[in-house]
Symmetry: C2
Subunit: 312 residues, 2 copies
Amino acid sequence: MIGDAFGEREIISRISEILGGVVNDDCAVIDAGEKYLVVTTDMLHSKTDFPDIMNPWQIGWMAVAVNLSDIAAMGAQPAGVLIAAGLPPQADLYFIDELFSGLADCAAYYSTAIIGGDTDRHDELTVTGTALGFVEKDLVLRRRGAKPGDLLCTTGALGGAGGGLWAWQHEVKSDLITKLLEPEPRLEEGRALARSRAVTAMMDNSDGLALSLSDLAQCSQVGFLVQEEALPVAAGLVEMVGKDKALEMVMGAGGDFELVFTVRPEGLEAARRACDLTVIGEVVAEGIWMEREGERRQVEARGYEHRIGGMD
Amino acid sequence: MIGDAFGEREIISRISEILGGVVNDDCAVIDAGEKYLVVTTDMLHSKTDFPDIMNPWQIGWMAVAVNLSDIAAMGAQPAGVLIAAGLPPQADLYFIDELFSGLADCAAYYSTAIIGGDTDRHDELTVTGTALGFVEKDLVLRRRGAKPGDLLCTTGALGGAGGGLWAWQHEVKSDLITKLLEPEPRLEEGRALARSRAVTAMMDNSDGLALSLSDLAQCSQVGFLVQEEALPVAAGLVEMVGKDKALEMVMGAGGDFELVFTVRPEGLEAARRACDLTVIGEVVAEGIWMEREGERRQVEARGYEHRIGGMD
């Protein structure tokens, strides 16, 4: 049984072996002549991905946003989104209108469009998005490329989506709930960072910071030292859940859709001109470490690992 | 309720309106500089798409084949396939190995590969494939473009998959069962037809000939006159189910994955050099007609319409 007798990561590596090795990146990369085409697909469905609180418009928004976040992580410009939607029997016209409006609105917000797809009936609402993008060959950003001495950075604030989930579950009113339900992928920041030529590796933190660091470390064959005090914790989170729980959410909760990236030390100013960022640590030779008041402890690669395949 | 109070076609046109108009073609077409990128996505799941008789390898093969057939229909060369797989709890390692081997084998058979994807748990086995391809801008084939006087043609034989389903349901031994379970999309034929420059419109017949003709007619703003005696019925089908039932399967059963296309009369020799084809009728001004011994009757756009969206 999946994730039972066998770990999820074991399944992924088995699948990757059968497929002849799939590059571990936010998107697959295809040579399209002058540029690279980057492409990603994510299957979302009710039980795992859509909390009851979500309205159909938000479900649509989310299905596009999660895929565009992968485009952002490559430094690419979106070129279109396809949607395969399995609609449950209880979906009425209101639901369909709202769902597809959410899909279209998110795409339009990021200057792209839903350009095709497939619609079918399905017992459980299931939406598979596929996003495409183009990026100049010398600007593409991958999970590999980080070097010891590079600075570890993130866009935005962390833990907000985790806090939103907590607030909803505990019936607490919080702006973080909107952050959870209507994520805003960092497309502009991703492009600007790529153009800055200061970034050495990048990915999104959609499954939490710890898993992102684990993936970046594995792909780049490096380690990380994170400064706990430097972490930009989402506004109001510590007040709501306390410092320890907030840190747990920063590291382990999914849904933030920020960009986590490494910057050559001499490129920091260029990266800062590209977008608002926070330096949260540095690249080291091996291991993933958190430093707090001068003490280091090892970070486990926990995180929002409901996905068996982290192929993207 | 979908397909209940509202027809499937009504839902599609509503969705298309919300999305701001999606071109009705086998693939979405994106400008990729020198060439067009074509891309398609299809969600398949147990209840609707995988007869109990299918083994996991065949499920994998099918999930790639249906998408590559859309690439073939545009005259394009495949450039990669992404797979988002929702695996049910009962999927064991044997199942996963076979499923992903089927995916990889079908891609490799057509000189392409699985280049990325997403894996998740799902109560019902759900596999969404996305196929990408490139085609020279002056060679791309669409559903629009057919002109009255053009010849209507098909690759291969028709009704075989429908016959395979019938044979399985009636416990009759037949080679057509393999045709149903392991479809072979016409990629080589699609490329050769595109290069022949003789073809004016093309699509695959994955939902049956009648629906293909209906779509081609709508997109090209034309009609068709089909010669019943000219239809290349799959070998052994008439013997197995009788002439009337065989014709019904040719027109209405899904799963054949042949190419249906129109050819300029002066281009017929070039098209014949490109691949084996059968002329089954001609393009007329309007209506879809079947001629049998000089008598014409109108053809309804029935077919394997389980898909709500025929966006591809």
